[in-house]
Amino acid sequence: VSSIVTRRKEAIPLPLPRPIARWESDSRKWADAFPREYDRYRMMMESSTKTKYGGAFPRDYLEETPANVILFAGYAFAKDYLQARGHVYAIHDVTHTKRVNEKTPATCWTCKSTDVPRILAEMSPAEFYKQPFSAFKDQITHPIGCLDCHDPTTMRLTITRPALREALQRQGRDLENIPHQEMRTLVCAQCHVEYYFKGEGKYLTFPWDKGFRIEEIESYYDEAEFSDWTHAISQAPMVKLQHPDYEVYLTGIHAYRNIACADCHMPYRSEGGVKFTDHYIQSPLLNIANSCAVCHRWSEEEIRQRVESIQDKTKEVRQRVEETLCKAHFEVAAARQAGATDDELQNPRQLIRKAQLRWDFVAANNGMGFHSPGECLRILAAALDLASQARTELARILATHGVIKPIIYPDISTKTAAQQVEQSFVNGNPPNLLPK
């Protein structure tokens, strides 16, 4: 009897939350008012989960795909590049990656901590960004948490990061009237988006002024004559794309049907008769019943298989692009060794930039193509086409300089091998690529 009575009682809503301090960056302090959300949030400590292409374990992207080392030759991503894990690790991971050095700006903190909103309220974003990363090691200690997405007085979803506000404003969006369902995506779009550091002040900027599609982002960067680095092997002017999860998602069927990130990554959960949002953010494939089966009444196995079949296709085409691009980079280097001028190599380098930008849009995007299967494959096909055009042209350029046989492609079959090759180019003593 008592069980029946409690079960009926539990269906009554919680008392109103106790007040939370305006800049409370410690998520534990929010837990008194919202124990259910906090308990699930803490689950993100789990970092050993695995799915076929995702999960929270620290997959080494360079080991798994040594081609990455070649594609990022001369850039920090050739040193260290791991799969993301739960939000609670953000501080730990950004302070331990080899990608950070003395020259790293404070901008890199922006997406890693609940301390950032407070700091940004104290100083202007421009001031914050231009300082060195190391200047904030003491003030920034709390990983991503409640304050990043919630207003502590009303608990409403809110955009705390200026870069997103600014980008949306430049598009003419009225930030006061964003539909609630869209907010359930936009809180993620504060961080899970492509960005670049604009100008000397390293001002965090999202390249969306012409639109969200890769062709529009490309033309934004082209117009700004922006590049992140010069490729160590091919000397092409490269752009790195980072986790354009939001941009890719926008082109998919789920965005078309107005389904938000939170619908899949934070599905509703019921505990003791209370319905709440699951704050254990992770791969939905680890929680298919709650996240997908709400709309797709198939068995979990069927859902997983369908997702993996989409991901397998993306992976297959991605690999084709990676092979072609790696060869193209080496062929430019070989053409230089054979005596080709920068003028002759101008066009192939532009083609390589265009191709790799497209490849990276898909590769850096999480979910191995699932967020928008058709668009990802279309973009990869375009990348393949452009990279192949570069190769055909390079074959002719090489021939002009007397090289007709295939060039010697160095061994890049493991991370170590690839990093050796990469370093040899970075240090200015590349191997001979010309056949006898």
Binding site: V1, R8, P267, K275, V294, R297
Partner: protein, 206 residues
Amino acid sequence: MNQAMQAAIASSRQFIRALLRLAWFPPGLRLLMFAVFGVCVGLGALAVHTSRAPSYLSDEPEVCVNCHVMRPEYVSWRHSSHAEVAHCNDCHVPHDSFVNHWLFKARDGLWHATVFTMRWEPQVIHLSERAVPVVESNCRRCHERLVACTSLREHTAGDLRCWDCHGDVPHGETRGLASSPGYLDPSLPPVGPRSKGVTIGGRPPR
């Protein structure tokens, strides 16, 4: 009426009276036993009242929302084209024979109550295998004339179920918690010893 029968009646009356007074036990124990028995009956009645067990005998949809886990289905059905024409049991209980009807109802009712009380319910509820043909036969019961001229008139292995096409009938396209706004919509009727009358979402049920 003959003598023997009158004697028999008298002796059984005596026996019942003795039984009711627990005549075989010492008086102290008698009192205690009365008290325990009373509490049991009381609790039993409370349980029956709280869980609205008798309502299981009825066909009112409000019966189903006695358990909050049925709320999403209730809400989605309430807003569906079937809300005015078919109640839960029109679809979820067999209507082919009286016996089947009550057997199924009893079995499902007991099972659901057990699951609920034991907190065994899954995060996402699906139709059980047993329930699928029951629901489909009920679609056909109402719509049989409509489908009589197509192969839909019978179901053969591998065929689509009615709701493979009519996926939104009657529970909508999104199921489970995601389909009911807020925690409590509609709110559960108050229960307990002092609660009066049943209300659903502030109004009495039909």
